[in-house]
């Protein structure tokens, strides 16, 4: 790769930092990782060429410190900055700061980020480009009273959304007027915490709709193509849990219409680099522009698997000024891809965060299985950051095979020490609605019953627990007896058991 840069600073952590390191290295680019004090041992630190500490554990004191990141880039002679997703990825001021320091920002221009980051301006721009938008306010609402007035006009349920937001943060669904005040306060406070701006706007909450998003990518020569859709309707509290490409809801004709709308929205923002245009799609196959995410998306791998493209490599190339080298007709979707997000949350306990230290680990592999992960034996899962640990992504020639492959892969995954969302995914994959692809954004919260009945493997878990407990008791007794009358034998147990458990 001939580029104006040879070394890239990765202003992120976790699996996406690892993902970006891999892409850089495959392009022959040097990599500089940054880490907070909580992440000194992290995988991205170990896999990068260089690594520098950016501050204490809280993100505000480390990964969100734009100036410190630029300073590290300068110190390490990095010439480009890849922001990943989250943190500063959609912060126009940071993009501007990077540019002003003479570095390449691997993402769109600050103006494009600012336009699409202001959800209110983004709606206007999309509408001006002929893309239909969801009914709602045309600007921020100033307080609860104004929100209540708007909600009354467009009708409940409504969605309160952070004007500066993205990624499901600072959003609340409100179904009845009496819940509005509390939800407004929470969403505004969360938005302020996450984006430094508490402003909200109000949208009609469409029901029975799918969340369908289109990956787009553009270069600085005005070429913009879309890389097909992703189905992201499996959500909980507006957070995506499972994504797939393509969607069972689209045919070629609808794909082409929505894809053209996505490209039009991107063009309206004079968009360069990779981005995602999100739509809601109703049962009548009418679609509405929701927002545009001006960054790499968590779920980008499903698009990679069905297109055969490497999106991060493409990001780096277009950031380096290369032309896209890909026309819309060159994009061919092949087979089916599904991603499951594996988070440190306990699905049996309302998805509450599970902290702890990751024990023995085996990630799945084999045909059609990809794992993008930041896991390692010894990882201390903390509350400082997002609970996403890894993504399992499978590809197969067709959707039923992909679902079976995912089932197999998740069943192979071993993560000691922390609860994860794997049991949830295993259950979801078996549901007839999911198997038929008959899902919408409310499916998970309204029609997904938590597991009932006892788990299949309770007996064998109990057996091992009893064996280990007994072994320990025997050893304590033996140690005691040894002081009195020499080493004790553990008596009744088979040689195999005794020998194999003794190291425990």
């Amino acid at each position: 790769m001939k580029t104006p840069f040879k070394k890239v600073l990765i202003a992120n952590r976790g699996e996406i930092a690892v993902r970006i390191i891999r892409a850089c290295r495959q392009l022959g680019l040097g990599t500089v990782a940054v880490y907070s004090e909580a992440d000194r041992q992290a995988l991205h630190v170990r896999l990068a060429d260089e690594a520098f500490c950016v501050g204490p554990p809280p993100a505000r004191q480390s990964y969100l410190r734009g100036e410190a990141l630029v300073e590290i880039a300068r110190r390490s002679a990095a010439e480009a900055v890849h922001p990943g997703y989250g943190f500063l990825a959609e912060n126009a001021a940071f993009a501007q700061m990077v540019r002003e320091a003479g570095l390449v920002f691997v993402g769109p221009a600050p103006d494009s980020i600012a336009l699409m980051g202001d959800k209110v301006r983004a709606r206007r721009a999309a509408r001006a480009a002929g893309v239909p938008v969801v009914p709602g306010t045309d600007g921020e609402v100033s307080d609860v009273a104004e929100a209540a007035a708007v909600a009354g006009a467009i009708g409940y349920p409504i969605l309160l959304k952070a004007a500066a937001g993205g990624g499901g943060k600072g959003m609340r669904v409100v179904r009845a007027p009496e819940d509005l005040a509390s939800a407004f306060q929470l969403a505004s406070s969360e938005a302020h915490g996450a984006f430094g701006h508490g402003g909200l706007y109000v949208e009609r909450r469409l029901e029975g709709v799918r969340h369908i998003e289109f990956q787009v990518i553009g270069d600085r020569y005005g070429n913009v193509v879309h890389l097909g859709e992703r189905e992201c309707s499996i959500q909980r509290r507006l957070q995506k849990l499972v994504e797939e490409a393509p969607s069972t809801a689209l045919d070629d004709a609808l794909r082409e219409r929505m894809g053209q709308a996505a490209v039009a929205a991107a063009r309206a923002a004079q968009y360069e680099n990779a981005g995602t245009v999100e739509f809601l799609l109703d049962a009548d196959r009418t679609f509405y522009f929701l927002e545009m995410n001006t960054r790499l998306q968590v779920e980008h791998p499903v698009t990679e698997l069905v297109t055969g493209l490497d999106l991060v490599a493409m990001q780096l190339r277009v950031a380096a000024g290369e032309p896209l080298g890909l026309r819309q007709d060159d994009v061919r979707l092949r087979g089916w891809a599904i991603e499951c997000r594996i988070s440190a949350e306990d699905p049996a306990n309302s998805f509450l965060p599970s902290i702890g230290t990751v024990g023995p680990l085996r990630e799945p592999s084999g045909p059609g299985v990809r794992v993008d992960s930041a896991l390692y034996h010894g990882l201390a899962v903390s509350l400082y950051y997002d609970p996403l640990l890894a993504k399992v992504i499978v590809w197969a020639a067709d959707r039923p095979t992909a679902i079976r492959r995912m089932r197999q892969a998740l069943g192979e995954f071993r993560i000691g020490g922390v609860h994860t969302t794997i049991p949830f995914h295993l259950r979801l994959l078996d549901l007839p609605e999911f198997r038929m692809g008959a899902v919408d954004t409310a499916f998970l919260e309204e029609r997904f019953a938590p597991a009932d009945g006892e788990p299949r493997d309770a007996g064998v878990v109990a057996l091992l627990a009893a064996l280990l407990t007994d072994e320990r008791r025997q050893r304590r007794q033996a140690a005691l007896a040894a002081t009195v009358d020499g080493p004790a034998s553990s008596g009744w147990r088979a040689r195999g058991w005794r020998e194999t458990l003794r190291r425990w």
Partner: protein
């Protein structure tokens, strides 16, 4: 015969071994042939139970018991031996107190704000406090109507999972 009562996934499983029959065990009274091998020196175990193969990863959670992972799932497991269990039975049903309802932290996190004070009457589902965890603010609401007997935490406080936050009468 050695017996253990194992609490796993909300139920109790009785496991027994017979000293005279190595490699045999009884799970809830059903006899099985079991072969248990630790893998290397890792806390990973291969169990063959009547020929069925299982792989389990184990972690000690100090004071809480064992955490055992199998087939993508993770179970928190507590083991009682028979004698301890008998004592518990004689002492009456375990851990059930009278009219008061403790509200514990369902996850570790930071207390952002507390909406109630001791003596307050609360309705069911009324907000008690807000707990921030993993960058999300989570509203904790009253599980039933009642009177706040005690508030054990204040804003800005970091709490562990299971920490007693509020007690309702």
């Amino acid at each position: 015969m050695v017996k253990y009562a194992v609490h796993v996934a909300g139920r109790e499983v009785e496991v027994a071994f017979d000293p005279r029959r190595p490699g045999c065990a009884w799970i809830d009274g059903v006899a099985v042939a079991a072969d248990c091998q630790q893998v290397g020196s890792q806390p990973v175990f291969s169990l063959l139970v009547d020929g069925r193969a299982y792989e389990l990863v184990v972690q000690d959670v100090p004071g809480e018991g064992l955490r055992i992972g199998v087939g993508g799932a993770l179970y928190d497991v507590a083991v009682e031996d028979e004698r301890a269990r008998e004592l518990a039975r004689l002492a009456g049903r375990r851990g059930e107190a009278g009219g008061e309802t403790p509200v514990k932290a369902p996850m570790p996190g930071l207390v952002v704000s507390v909406a109630v004070s001791p003596g307050d009457e609360v309705a069911a589902h009324q907000r008690l406090l807000i707990l921030e965890a993993m960058k999300m603010e989570n509203e904790l609401r009253a599980p039933r109507a009642g009177r706040v007997r005690a508030v054990h935490v204040g804003p800005g406080e970091k709490v562990e999972q299971g920490r007693l936050l509020v007690v309702l009468d």
